[in-house]
């Protein structure tokens, strides 16, 4: 049984991770022993689900008795690196909410530290368990769409996550805006479909002192090239389209167990997906399970983590893969240009372009109140 500490007891833990952890606790696979949060009230709220756990206000205090083998880190991203490093150095396996860090170099450092310590470092990316992504990957590998491929991945909706502070909107605490928040999921999905890729161009709307609420990134992979389009402030026509000479695929973001397919000149057809993953901790994986929603994926992700710790399989996303995606994001931030906003009057577009966070040469005095 893995003695477990949860670091950061906010909304993501309560919503997505509590039930999988309780199920694993019921199977005697993990034992949640410590709840760490700077605000003890939040930890005490979570103790409703883990009544035997003790509460601490720092990881150092939480690790003290030496009965912890697994640290689950779910704090704001700016704290991930230091906490994960502390846990690894204390001999713990680490499961970290995305993004693993706010900089690629930090993620690489963590991957190296995990390797040196012989511990598992895994990053929470439940979308790795979306049946449609797995099926589409197989179809791409089988050459069903031909090549080369084009893609567009859009994900936009007003920000609704019930956060407790504004840390998610400050570059010093979050590392970035929508590209780091939603983009890390999207780029990881593309990494799983097409392999390693690189950034060709990036456009965003961040001003000096802010983080981007809208971002567009153009990427190239060995077999595909396309666009990722993200927003925190508006709906987009969400989904992933992949087009090749032999066919086209559309995946809607809210239907994880189906996708749409059409050959050139034919109407869209709906296809159900039945990809499955191990559902227990036996060496064979037991009865395999097809997830139907995000929470099912969260369950399977925790099972994958525990199986990885027991050397039965590899983590879906480890530190090396996470660092690769973070490198793309960092590259995108480095070359970001002002986003075209052609729905605004030309004078307004020019006003915001001059105040873009990378616009330093000859930029006007900042008129925005701080």
């Amino acid at each position: 049984m893995l003695g477990t500490v949860i670091v950061g007891c906010g909304a993501i833990v309560a919503d997505l991770h509590t039930q999988p952890l309780r199920r694993l606790q019921h199977l005697s696979a993990v034992d949640v022993r410590v709840l760490v949060d700077r605000d003890p009230a939040r930890a005490l709220t979570l103790r409703r689900w883990f009544p035997d756990a003790r509460v601490a206000t720092s990881l150092t205090a939480g690790l003290e008795p030496g009965d912890i083998q697994l640290a689950f880190i779910a704090t704001p991203p700016g704290l991930h690196r230091s906490l994960a490093l502390e846990a690894l150095q204390a001999g713990c396996h680490v499961f970290c909410e995305k993004p693993l860090a706010t900089r690629a170099a930090e993620a690489q450092e963590l991957a190296r530290a995990a390797g040196a310590a012989g511990r598992v470092l895994a990053v929470a990316h439940p979308r790795r368990f979306f049946p449609n992504t797995a099926t589409v990957r197989s179809r791409i590998m089988a050459g069903d769409l031909g090549g080369p491929l084009q893609f567009v991945l859009r994900e936009g909706s007003p920000y609704e996550w019930p956060i407790a502070t504004d840390a998610a909107f400050r570059r010093e605490t979050a590392g970035g805006g929508v590209l780091l928040d939603k983009g890390v999921h999207c780029l990881d999905t593309l990494d799983s479909l097409f392999g390693a890729g690189h950034v060709l161009a990036c456009w965003d709307d961040s001003l000096r002192g802010g983080v981007e609420t809208n971002s567009k990134v153009e990427l190239a992979y060995s077999s595909a090239r396309g666009l990722v389009h993200l927003s925190w402030d508006q709906a987009l026509n969400n989904g992933l389209w992949i087009r090749g000479p032999l066919g086209e695929i559309r995946m809607d973001s809210h239907q994880i167990d189906r996708y749409h397919w059409r050959s050139p000149g034919t109407p869209w057809q709906q296809n159900d997906c039945h990809e499955s993953w191990p559902s227990d901790l036996t060496s064979t994986g037991g009865v395999r399970r097809t997830p139907h929603n995000y929470y099912d994926c969260g369950d399977l992700e925790w099972i994958n983590l525990v199986r990885s710790i027991h050397s039965l399989e590899s983590p879906a996303v480890d530190g090396v893969v996470a660092a690769r995606v973070l490198q793309q994001i960092e590259d995108a931030y480095r070359i970001a240009q002002p986003l075209d906003q052609p729905w605004l009057a030309p004078s307004e577009q020019a006003f915001w372009r001059e105040r873009h966070w990378h616009a330093t040469q000859g930029a006007p005095q900042d008129p925005l109140p701080r």
């Binding site: 919503d15 084009q150 504004d166 609420t213 396309g226």
Partner: protein
């Protein structure tokens, strides 16, 4: 310099109001938010913001002290709408804020059955919409404060607020793309539109003009459009046309609508808030599986889209008259932008940027 507190700055109208005000050096607009998540729409500006608690007049007054004007764009719970307005107004009075600008809605008039609807008409009957009822109650309460010694109070009652990011754009456009958009009565009803920039400019004008204005003002675009014209314009911008829109004779109120209508009941909404997201997802999954078992296999099938008419759109598409705008035009002659044609052209640019086109749109 006008110091302007914007309550509900994280919403559709609020974020555009902030965006426009930041480009005007004579205005210092500060977002006032109940939840930090409201900053999501404003994150790019990196603005200073203030948390507010609309439950407490005392705390509100402390937050609002020193402001010249307060704009109330808060939405949220229908049951909280009236008490929030009451608390805000009292807090403005206590903090000696000069102007209080409140966003009402023309929804209180339902189908607009009267041609020359006076701007200060109060909705006399509680309509089927809980939101309309709540808005009407707030209007009535504020109407009783117009002649008191409190802040100069201006209430705008816009029609459907449209423009980039509006639900009145993304909803019909999404339906046109999916093939399930619909129009009642051939789309002959009046579509009382109000562009978001017109509304934002009206609010900024009310906040900054030398002499305060008070009272109720209908607000909308001067160009009168029918629903057919509006949908046709939207369809054209996304590479479709009016033939893609289903024509429905009239609304049939079926048992399905009764069941769906339950979700708008206050006790159902409260119950829903108490259920964990995971449980809701599992319930949806069970429902979907049950329906799938009763239906033919879906894999490999292509489905003809069919419209799912609802009462709200039926009501809006049954509007008989344009809102009279003479009072607004007389008091706010400076608010003229944008022109409908220009605004629709720019909206088309936004729709294409957002991928709302019949084909998937740009891949590069």
């Amino acid at each position: 310099m006008t110091r302007l507190a914007v309550l509900g700055a994280g919403g559709f109208v609020g974020s555009r109001l902030l965006e426009l005000s930041l480009a005007r050096p004579e205005i210092n607009a500060i977002p006032m938010l109940r939840q930090p998540r409201g900053l999501g729409k404003l994150a790019r500006f990196g603005l200073a913001w203030r948390p507010i608690d609309t439950n407490s007049i005392h705390a509100l007054a402390e937050s609002l002290r020193g402001f010249d004007a307060v704009v109330n764009l808060t939405q949220g719970d229908n049951q909280r709408l009236l008490p929030d307005v009451q608390n805000l107004y009292e807090a403005c009075r206590k903090a000696e804020v000069g102007r209080f600008i409140h966003l009402g809605s023309a929804v209180v008039f339902g189908e607009v059955k009267q041609r020359d609807l006076p701007d200060d008409r109060l909705a006399s009957e509680c309509r089927w919409s809980a939101y309309a009822c709540a808005k009407a109650s707030a209007d009535a309460w504020l109407a009783g404060r117009l002649d008191t010694s409190g802040p100069a109070t201006c209430i705008f009652r816009p029609g459907l607020v449209w423009g980039p990011r509006s639900i009145w754009v993304t909803l019909p456009v999404g339906q046109i793309i999916e093939g399930n958009a619909f129009l009642f009565h051939g789309g002959s009803g009046i579509c009382n539109l109000c562009h978001v920039d017109r509304l934002a400019n009206a609010i900024l004008s009310a906040a900054t003009r030398p002499t305060a204005v008070t009272g109720f003002y209908h607000l909308g675009d001067p160009e009168v459009r029918t629903w057919r014209q509006y949908y046709s314009d939207l369809a054209q911008e996304i590479g479709s046309d009016i033939s893609a829109i289903h024509q429905l004779p009239d609304f049939e109120y079926t048992w399905k609508h009764r069941v769906l209508g339950l979700k708008d009941l206050e006790w159902v909404r409260q119950l829903k808030r108490r259920i964990r997201n995971q449980t809701k997802d599992q319930m949806k999954r069970i429902l979907r599986t049950t329906i799938a078992r009763m239906s033919p296999p879906s894999s490999g099938a292509s489905f003809p889209a069919s419209p799912r008419p609802d009462r709200l759109l039926w009501s809006l598409q049954s509007i008989q008259h344009p809102l009279p705008l003479q009072r607004f035009q007389a008091h706010f002659p400076e608010v003229t932008e944008p022109n409908y044609e220009t605004a629709m052209g720019r909206l088309g640019n936004w729709l294409r940027y957002s991928g709302f086109t019949v084909e998937p749109g740009e891949f590069r």
